[in-house]
């Protein structure tokens, strides 16, 4: 056996010096005080949200406690509840009810349409099919919202493809029967609340599918197996395990669809009747009418409704599984 010479190893320091320059010093400082880094990262968005966004929102809300002088059209800067009195006039209450009912219907329909899609994507789609799912859900978001709404106006018009298709299928009588109904009907789908509803469901659907899919994805497969193992039929498993665990996602999605519908003023303007929704009322009051206080009071309505909505959802335990 040959003698083994001691390996030549450079004697290395146990503690390395900071890497060169300001960067090294900064890295060390941030490592020692992680809150410092957090503060620096959070400061710009907090300033933006705090001052520009929340600040202007508060300014807007303050406006709702001012009133307008009906003769001069000038704003009277004294605090009063007069504008809220105006808000409760029958015509305005109609607008609020119409908008809330529409938002609720759109949300319910979105849940029903989105659930099977989200369920399939979360539990069965793998690889290529999953990519296709994301593409299918996101693709509509890449094209302009206005283009899509005008496209729908054409689809739903009397001369549109839907009428043509139903005529070919000899099902035009179904559409005519529906359109002859009061309130939901009209001359054609594109000038009825049904049309508004269809377009709302279409444009907000991705905002329901994505959170729902994320929530369903987080339901471990073995909980479904455990439920089945303990004797629950698929229906019982759905009701007692899958649905409660997916509820936070459903609530998140419904917050999107509900609040987006409450505030939208473009869809009902292009597709639907001439009767106003909250968004259109705000637009009209702050624009042509120049009644900023009433416009501000109108914007308070969706905020209050969403507050109650979240409070109710929390009461029902929608966020327990978070």
């Amino acid at each position: 056996m040959t003698a083994v010479s001691a390996p030549v190893i450079e004697v290395r320091r146990a503690i390395l010096p900071p890497s060169g320059g300001v960067r090294g010093v900064l890295s060390d400082a941030f490592w020692r005080k992680p809150t410092l880094l957090l503060l620096i990262m959070l400061l710009p968005p907090v300033l933006w949200l705090g001052i520009v966004y929340i600040g202007s929102l508060i300014a807007l809300l303050a406006q709702s406690f001012f009133s307008i002088d009906e003769f001069s059209g000038l704003i009277n800067h004294e605090l009063t509840l007069k504008t809220y009195g105006d808000l409760l006039q029958p015509a305005n209450v109609d607008i609020i009810i119409r908008t809330v009912v529409m938002a609720a219907c759109v949300t319910l329909a979105s849940i029903v349409v989105a659930f099977p899609i989200a369920y399939y994507a979360a539990r069965y789609a793998r690889g290529r099919w999953k990519a296709l799912f994301y593409l299918g859900v996101m693709l509509p978001l890449w094209s302009s919202y206005l283009v899509k709404i005008y496209a729908w106006k054409l689809i739903l018009a009397k001369e549109g493809i839907l009428n043509w298709l139903l005529a070919k299928l000899h099902l035009l009588w179904v559409l005519d029967a529906w359109l002859s109904l009061p309130y939901v009907g009209g001359n054609s789908l594109s000038v009825s609340f049904t049309g508004t509803f269809i377009v709302f469901v279409y444009v907000w659907l991705p905002f329901m599918i994505l959170p729902m899919q994320a929530a369903l994805e987080r339901v471990p497969a073995n909980l479904v197996e455990a439920s089945s193992d303990l004797g629950a039929s698929p229906r019982q498993t759905f009701r007692t395990v899958i649905f409660p665990l997916a509820l936070p996602g459903i609530v998140a999605g419904s917050i999107f669809t509900f609040s987006l519908t409450l505030g939208d003023y473009i869809v009902p303007q292009i597709v639907g009747t001439s009767r106003l929704f909250i968004g259109q009322a705000v637009y009209a009051q702050q624009g042509t009418a120049g009644n900023i206080p009433l416009a501000a009071a109108f914007t308070v309505v969706p905020i209050v409704i969403m507050g109650f909505y979240l409070w109710g959802a929390k009461k029902l335990g929608a966020f327990d599984a978070l």
Binding site: E225, D229, L230, G231, A232
Partner: protein
């Protein structure tokens, strides 16, 4: 007497992978049966076939004499304790345990009473109001057990239920599970990759490899008389001896196994026993494990603590009784 579970030529293939391949198996009623094997050996798939989560590609499965193919899990009076417990995070402990009774439509008062009793059985009385997230791993494991037992299953399946627990807790649970099985008389089918666990708890053990059963027998049979090289190798620390070596001692050209404790390590005596060299020693508390090299083979021997030990590198002589040499089924 009908078997609790019987497999006849059961196969489960996933594409080209034969997870379970032509398995025949009979688990007796009231038996504590362990399925032992390395990961991917098909033992968990067998358990899932009994539970109904998987359907056999071919072959037949009966549970207490009734055919089970095509029967969904919720129509089998069989319950599973899952490896990671699978407790429902949105329900408290009492509702978790009462779940099986709830879906069967049993009234609130009655099912909560049964659930409380089941929690007492696993020594967690009064934990009902807590959430699964507030319990330790060992406690969750007990809740999973209570949730399965409250349904009074004909067969209880346990999928590596002790895998996530630390050593001390695991030893306690082993004893408790065994006592519980004796007291309740329910058939337990237990999946594990830990041979010590299988040998210490089970009435009978099936050793799996590559989707097939290598050997079924009592722990003693498996340990003392392994049927194949794989079993000898996997169950405990047997020395596996090649046919050429075995022929000189037994006259038969076959593979054999030799338990480490059967080897005596002594001073070098020319012309006797097997000359060997001590490579290293490994102190294990009650015993010391010696790694030896003899005729190009690596052998393990265990000696009781306190015995005089040779130095590493020293030449020694190994002796053993020929009867201790266990010949295996496989030929050369």
């Amino acid at each position: 007497m009908t078997a609790a579970v019987s497999f006849r030529q059961v196969s489960r293939h996933f594409g080209s992978v034969r997870a379970v391949d032509a398995v025949d198996l009979d688990v007796g009623a009231g038996e504590f049966f362990a399925m032992l094997g390395p990961s991917g050996s098909g033992k968990t798939t067998c358990l899932r076939l009994i539970a109904g989560f998987e359907q056999p590609t071919s072959g037949s499965i009966s549970i207490f004499g009734e055919r089970a193919e095509g029967v969904p899990p919720y129509r089998r009076n069989v319950n599973t304790v899952f490896q990671d417990y699978a407790l429902f995070p949105h329900l408290n402990i009492l509702d978790n345990v009462a779940y099986g009774l709830m879906v069967k439509g049993i009234g609130k008062a009655e099912r909560y009473k049964a659930a409380e009793e089941a929690l007492s059985l696993v020594q967690l009385p009064g934990y009902g109001a807590r959430r699964p997230g507030q319990l330790s791993g060992g406690q969750r494991q007990r809740v999973a057990l209570a949730r399965a037992l409250v349904n009074q299953p004909r067969v209880l399946l346990l999928d590596e239920p002790l895998g996530a627990l630390d050593l001390k807790l695991r030893e306690n649970m082993q004893e408790e599970l065994k006592a519980l099985q004796k007291a309740l008389g329910i058939t337990f089918v237990f999946v594990t990759h830990d041979q010590g666990e299988a040998l210490s708890m089970a009435d009978r053990v099936a050793v799996f490899n590559d989707g097939r059963i290598m050997q079924v027998g009592t722990p003693e049979e498996i340990y003392q008389r392994p049927a194949t090289r794989f079993v000898a190798d996997f169950v405990g620390s047997s020395n596996v001896l090649p046919p050429d070596f075995v022929q000189r001692w037994s006259g038969q050209h076959r593979w054999a196994s030799l338990r480490p404790e059967a080897i005596r390590v002594g001073r070098k005596v020319a012309g006797e026993g097997v000359p060997a060299r001590l490579v290293s020693t490994n102190y294990l508390g009650a015993t010391t494990k010696l790694l030896l090299e003899a005729e190009g083979l690596r052998l393990h021997a265990t000696v009781p603590a306190g015995a005089a030990l040779p130095e590493a590198g020293e030449e020694v002589t190994l002796t053993f009784n020929r009867e201790q040499l266990h010949l295996m089924e496989e030929g050369a």
